[in-house]
């Protein structure tokens, strides 16, 4: 295997490399090899109390809502991606989001939920559902800037923050699943922030519109955060909202 210093790549080669299917293929081989539905198949489940199980099921159901939104949004955005390599990157994201939904549904089944899809509908967080509807409106309108902002910046940063915090306290199987999912989110979040950052540099007027969207969606995101934190009995400070989610929004120059 030839050694390659990534920092010596030209900017063009760097972007071509990281947005390619080939990169995705070799990256996921690293952390999904040997897993079965996202976790080490040699692990066995621990005993949950009734309330622990109830909270975990509700949380997983809401992860599924977020992943359904992400699957629908990322697949819908391919047809209006601004460049072929962006379309190829989004295709890798589509399969990542599909995988996330699948592993969470599989986990719900392992926890004894016979009809996970019905359970997801019953336990959906209202703020998250409103957020999903708004995201899919932007996708239907083929509004690239708004869709990439809401999906790959806001939603992905929210998921990344929550999944990492939850993985630290979860049972070993759920933790393994969440750790793998968060590794995918790193790519999605980075793609969104960089794509949007470049766009904002070229068209600063877009910022005003996206600022309005931030103001509209922030309450939904923060309310979702606090509900999940309550279910998981995690302090919102521990979730690192200020250092992760809000820092991303701030880096792009949006008011928080």
């Amino acid at each position: 295997m030839a050694e390659v210093d990534p920092h010596a790549l030209s900017e063009e080669d760097f972007h071509a490399e990281v947005h390619s299917f080939q990169f995705w293929l070799e990256a996921v081989e690293g952390y999904l090899g040997g897993t079965d539905f996202g976790f080490d198949p040699n692990l066995t489940d621990e005993e949950f109390s009734e309330s622990e199980l109830n909270y975990l099921v509700t949380t997983l159901c809401n992860y599924c809502v977020a992943e359904q939104a992400a699957l629908q949004a990322s697949s819908g955005m391919i047809s209006f991606a601004p460049a072929p390599d962006a379309a190829i990157f989004l295709s890798t994201q589509v399969v990542d989001e599909g995988r996330h939904l699948e592993v969470f549904v599989h986990r719900l089944k392992m926890l004894g939920i016979e009809d996970p899809w019905q359970e997801i509908t019953a336990r959906s967080n209202q703020s998250l559902l409103k957020f999903k509807d708004r995201l899919l409106e932007f996708v239907d309108q083929r509004d690239w800037e708004a869709a990439i902002f809401v999906q790959n910046v806001i939603l992905e940063a929210m998921e990344f923050t929550v999944f990492q915090a939850h993985a630290a306290t979860a049972d070993p199987i759920t933790s393994g699943i969440l750790t793998g999912v968060a590794k995918d989110e790193r790519r999605h979040m980075g793609f969104g922030e960089n794509d949007l950052g470049r766009k904002l540099k070229q068209a600063p007027h877009t910022r005003t519109r996206l600022n309005r969207i931030t103001a509209e969606l922030n309450p939904l995101v923060l309310s979702t955060f606090s509900e999940i934190a309550e279910e998981l009995k995690i302090d919102t400070e521990d979730l690192g909202i200020s250092s992760n989610y809000l820092a991303t929004i701030e880096r792009l120059g949006f008011s928080t």
């Binding site: 996921v28 999904l32 697949s75 072929p84 599989h106």
Partner: protein, 291 residues
């Protein structure tokens, strides 16, 4: 149904593709494999390879747009999962065939203009008929157009190209083997998933058959244009091939000896035969473009 559809899971896809036949490949072929020097050094052969590869990129771009658009139109989550994997398969095909254009000497800056110059207008129309259904979120018509008509065509075209290249261009033959393996899943999904939906929606039959008829018309026109354009290349290739060369047999025809019109005939007959069989199995009647 749920157990049957679990075969369409991303877990199955991961085990069969990234951890299966794509493991250790580089843009779909073995690391270090190259296009043959005899082809790169001959402008006529190289241009023909570029023209052919452009059609593959155009077809795969259409397949990518269609499969990603169909994720949102799918009525059940298993179909969404499968279409998510198909979206990535199609994106991979776009990438590996685009990479082949670069390997054939097309400069990155010239990619778009090369694709525009060589893209067959009939193939573009073929894609437009399909994407119109996808834009309307018509799942049944979209899947028939994508997974039976487009994929059925691609499957046969790739198999024929694989037979041609197997003995002379291992790099491209390996690239094609992986895409053929992907297409197998796609055509399988098309038949298995849509068969039951057609039964539930018999009122859709006429509209879908009309779409198939229009797509078939543009497909046959694409074949006619393509084989006409490369008839001289075929002759030159035959004149240069060794008399001891191993036969490249595709459906009983030795492609190392057949002329362009024989090649067109065997490909068209094969694709149309497959269409009739597959459409018949899901309860649709094949409509000839001549009808």
């Amino acid at each position: 149904m749920a157990d049957f559809l679990s075969g369409y899971s991303i877990q199955s896809w991961l085990e069969s593709c990234p951890q299966g036949y794509l493991e250790d490949t580089d843009y779909g072929h073995g690391a270090g494999e190259k296009e043959p020097e005899e082809m790169l050094g001959n402008d006529t052969f190289r241009e023909d390879a570029i023209r052919t590869t452009v059609q593959l990129v155009v077809g795969e771009r259409a397949a990518l747009a269609a499969s990603s658009g169909l994720v949102n139109a799918a009525p059940d989550d298993s179909s969404k999962m499968f279409l998510a994997t198909q979206t990535l398969d199609e994106a991979r095909h776009v990438e590996i065939f685009t990479q082949r254009l670069l390997d054939l000497g097309v400069r990155k800056d010239d990619l778009d203009s090369t694709i525009s110059r060589y893209a067959n207008p009939n193939l573009v129309k073929f894609a437009e008929v399909l994407l119109e259904k996808v834009d309307k979120k018509d799942f049944i018509a979209g899947v028939v157009g994508q997974n039976i008509v487009l994929e059925g065509m691609a499957f046969s075209v790739f198999e024929m190209m694989h037979a041609t290249n197997d003995g002379t261009n291992p790099k491209f033959a390996h690239t094609l083997s992986g895409t053929i393996a992907d297409e197998r899943r796609h055509v399988g999904f098309g038949e298995n998933r849509i068969g039951s939906l057609i039964k539930e929606h018999p009122e859709k039959k006429a509209e879908i058959q009309k779409m198939q008829q229009d797509m078939t018309y543009h497909m046959l026109a694409t074949f006619a244009d393509s084989f006409k354009a490369n008839s001289d290349v075929v002759e030159e290739a035959h004149s240069q091939s060794s008399p001891d060369a191993k036969a490249a047999v595709y459906h009983g025809v030795d492609l190392n000896k057949a002329d362009a019109s024989e090649m067109e005939a065997v490909l068209s007959d094969t694709v149309l035969g497959e269409f009739k069989t597959r459409l018949g199995r899901i309860g649709l009647e094949y409509l000839s473009p001549a009808a």
